[in-house]
Amino acid sequence: MPEPLIHLENTGIYYRSGRAKGPQGVITPWALRGLNMQIMRGEKLGIVGRNGCGKSTLLRLLAGIIMPDEGVIRYTRGNLHVQLLALGVGFESHLSGAENAVLSGLFMGKTRRHMESRLAEIQEFSELGDAFHRPVNTYSSGMNARLGFSIAIQTDPDVFLIDEILGVGDRGFLVKSQQILRDKFKDDTTVVLISHDARIISEVCSRAVWMEKGRVLAEGLPRDVCTAYEDSMLAKK
């Protein structure tokens, strides 16, 4: 019996529009509405939908960055570590790659000790070599992205939120980073993957949800959901 980690019950979120769009208090349509969803331990949940369907809002909600305007979000464990895969959060340009790895890890809810124990892995995976101990303002943008990715992958959250499986870096690192992300789908990490590409979701996920205009249109086996989603995309064309 799979154990649920996060419950969403009738959850809704709206953004207040900027003042340029009209008088204050005027609200844009709900970004999410009446959402009921459970995220189970160890599952790989894929969420598919077009731009503006509420995917990013859902990620922010799950990560605890915003709170719902109606309904509730419940975490079954108080210290559940839910984290967005984010690259290079808050890099301090005058500090070295190693120092930034620790700082960045602290932001993502890890302890200093955890990050220090992973420094060797981060250095190795990022292929930075000696540059790891030089200030990041001497890095190329590719090196920056490699470092950011290597840090993020070493933070081991309970629930990993991924917005598109995007590799970074040059050809070689691209393949490697996409591979390690796919590996995350094989071990027992709980993953929520959001994508507008139905193929990748049916490939790596164990369950899929199709969202449209902030609501769930379909839910079930990735193959079925993704077929329905793609058919509707084709029908619109």
């Binding site: 900027g18 960055i65 915003i66 959060v89 808050g90 301090e92 500090l95 700082l103």
Partner: protein
Amino acid sequence: MQSLLRYKDIIFYRILAGMKSEARKNYLGYLWFVLEPLLSTALLYFSMSHITGQRGMDTALSILFGMIAWQWFEGSIMLSASSILSKFHIYQQVPLPKYLFPLVDIGTNTVRFAVAFSLVLIASISIGPGPSLALVWLPLLLMLQLLLIAGLALVISMSVTLLQDIKIVLQSVFRLLFFASGIFFTAERVPAHLLPYFHANPIAALIESYRAVILHQHAPDLGLLGQASLTSLAILALGAFIQNYFDKRLLKLTNA
């Protein structure tokens, strides 16, 4: 409060990182923090001694301590006013409490202040009045000013993020406050009927207390200090409330 304990590591290491990266950026950084109050004190002393006729070491030291306390206050608030805005991209990706970066900026500025203040304190005590028992009040005064700074920063950093125009108003308010806080004059020069208003300003009360304790070697006016404490605590409570209320709403209200 509990979450503050949880995030104290981040605050501590960010302050450390800030100091490190500042030291690597410009070597004169710390020196400037001593030089700046000295320069502005020299300027104020020069102009004021011509207007009021008050001269001598006492007047100069009196201005110097007013100036350095003011710079800690103004510098921290101005720095933290845009703390949330400038780190918005981080808040968009990680669920950090919004008060984090304002407190980090206050911390960094406070370390700078501590260095400059210690130097100025030691120097002025040795050339001026000499040490006295009244100095035991000093930690309390510094603590109180830190509370006032933190409270105001919590209120202002969130308000500025929600409505950026506030930052422009803020500059004018601080210019006004600079002239009204008794930095280059003492409370004796304030007309009696205006004195209650003058003392309602906690930063004016603090500057007066610093002078009492360091330069005049007697305990500060406790009534004055009590009033300043109450004001500071009220501001701190307001700040905590605002931060708590908007913490998980902020990203729905603004894209900065």
